[in-house]
């Protein structure tokens, strides 16, 4: 007998939950509901991370290194220029963060010369002194990156790094929500994510011959359509009590 234990927040401590709730409340409290979620996330990143500007670039073929990139949102012309530089040169912190699956934090571009020589030169010419990139990523599912810059050098605080990671996670949710056209109150599934969600994604990918992002979206769509928590659906798939139909 398999007992699926559903906990409200299976993988995180109270501090993290409070933190995320606060950022989510700030997002929800933005009076302009018409402004797209990514724009609000970028604006929040500017204030919470105390950076000059923020850009989000999305990959339309997640996972592939030669994926085409598309600027989704930039708070100002310099942020847009930095995204354009990375696109043109094929190098830079945002691109690297998608490859490593981890944030790339460069508090002083003046001493980062060998990492991405052409990008660094272009960015410094534009007056940029520091860049901090956070991937929109879940395992092999890389959707793009949230790239922040400052005109003066200096590290992010621990709290600011933490804010950047949570905002990148919210951006990941927002991108998937936009693609599947689910209601905005669906936001939050990812913070309840369970290790079985990743395993179930792998199972569905193999069963249906699709990629990992599509597999996750099918599980998510099934959970949404049946009004079940994502972890419950994932647990049933892992236990082989549920097989998703190819057209689900």
């Amino acid at each position: 007998m398999v007992v699926v234990v559903v906990r409200r927040r299976p993988t995180e401590g109270p501090a993290m939950q409070d933190h995320r709730l606060r950022l989510r409340a700030l997002l929800a409290g933005d009076g302009n509901r018409a402004s797209p979620a990514l724009a609000r996330i970028c604006a929040l990143a500017v204030s919470e991370l105390a950076v000059t500007g923020v850009g989000v670039t999305l990959l339309d073929q997640p996972g592939a290194l030669d994926a085409r990139q598309q600027l989704a949102r930039a708070t100002d012309a310099v942020a847009a220029q930095l995204e354009d530089l990375q696109f043109t040169l094929g190098e830079g912190p945002g691109r690297e963060s998608v490859i490593t699956g981890a944030p790339v934090l460069v508090p002083d571009l003046a001493v980062a010369g060998t990492r991405w020589p052409a990008f660094t030169s272009g960015a410094r010419t534009a007056g940029v002194a520091a860049v901090f990139s956070f991937p929109l990523q879940l395992g092999t599912i890389g959707l793009g990156s949230l790239d922040c810059y400052r005109m003066s050098a200096g590290s992010l605080s621990h709290q600011q790094v933490s804010n950047g990671l949570v905002l990148a996670e919210l951006a990941f949710e927002a991108v998937l929500a936009a693609v599947t056209d689910h209601a905005p109150d669906d936001l939050g599934w990812i913070s309840d994510i369970h290790v079985e969600v990743h395993q179930a994604s792998g199972i569905v990918m193999h069963q249906q011959g699709i990629n990992m992002r599509e597999a996750l979206m099918r599980i998510r769509a099934f959970a949404y359509a049946h009004e079940l928590p994502l972890a419950v659906v994932a647990g049933r798939i892992v236990d082989r009590r549920l097989t998703l139909d190819a057209d689900e």
């Binding site: 490593t100 934090l105 991937p135 395992g139 996670e169 892992v238």
Partner: protein, 257 residues
């Protein structure tokens, strides 16, 4: 500790030091470390959880990938010895988990359900930061003694050194990148386990064993192999051979408990 025990410890330390070469795989290293912990400390299971930079704890390695042990480690993001250990920076011990239900309301029921009656956690300390903890779990009540805890601490320190070694972690910026990379790799491994379990009709523990032994015998990094599996570019039959009927070649299917 007797002489035989000391010799085993010495061999383990040499083995672990030997793996700390350039460009080694952190998750593979932690996985070896927790398996040696089980053997050396005579505990039932061991795991490493790492603090993620969002303020949570995430499992990075377990001595077995059986779903119940994974759950016992994962639930400690809410409460349990690991969470207390990371917060205080001190070892946390309990020889009788049944008596700790008020202290750890989420952890205790999951641990007891999985058959564990004693638990301890020792911190992975890096200067003034605690970056995670090593968790020892036992089905009997007698595992928590000073000698085991101090030996556990020595092994936790080796795990910390492993994390420092992987890149020249001279500052906290690189450490954050390093830890988040490891945690994302752990998600990739879970995705790959799902693919292999579907391919071979096996449980998650078997899927992980197949992944790990293939990586070892072909001198591949565990994380890189897992990535190719999760991206759909690996030859799954080379990793986990199945018969034309879709059954694993080696052993019959062991269903998840």
């Amino acid at each position: 500790m007797n002489d035989q025990h000391e010799q085993r410890l010495a061999r383990v330390l040499v083995e672990l030091a030997d793996t700390l070469v350039d460009d080694f795989d952190l998750l593979e290293f932690l996985s070896t470390l927790v398996q040696r912990c089980v053997e050396l400390l005579d505990v039932t299971a061991a795991g490493v959880v790492l603090a993620d930079q969002k303020g949570g704890l995430r499992m990075a390695a377990a001595s077995s990938e059986q779903a119940r042990l994974v759950e016992v480690l994962a639930v400690q993001a809410d409460d349990g010895p690991c969470l207390d250990c990371v917060h205080t920076g001190e070892p946390v011990l309990s020889a009788d988990l049944a008596a700790e239900a008020a202290r750890w309301p989420r952890f205790v029921p999951v641990a007891l359900e999985a058959g564990f009656h004693a638990a301890s956690a020792v911190p992975m300390r890096l200067r003034h930061n605690v970056i995670g903890s090593l968790n020892l779990l036992h089905t009997g009540p007698d595992v928590v003694d000073e000698a085991r805890v101090s030996l556990g601490q020595a092994l936790a320190d080796v795990a910390t050194i492993g994390i420092l070694q992987q890149r020249a972690v001279g500052n906290s910026t690189l450490l954050i990148e390093q830890l988040q990379t490891a945690l994302n790799s752990r998600v990739v491994i879970e995705q790959a386990k799902g693919v292999l379990s579907s391919h071979g009709g096996v449980d998650m523990d078997r899927a992980f064993s197949a992944l790990r032994s293939h990586a070892r015998s072909h001198n591949l990094r565990l994380s890189e192999l897992a990535r190719t599996v999760a991206e759909g570019t690996a030859d799954l039959n080379a990793i986990l051979p199945v018969t034309p009927h879709g059954r694993p070649v080696v052993e019959p299917d062991r269903r998840r408990q």
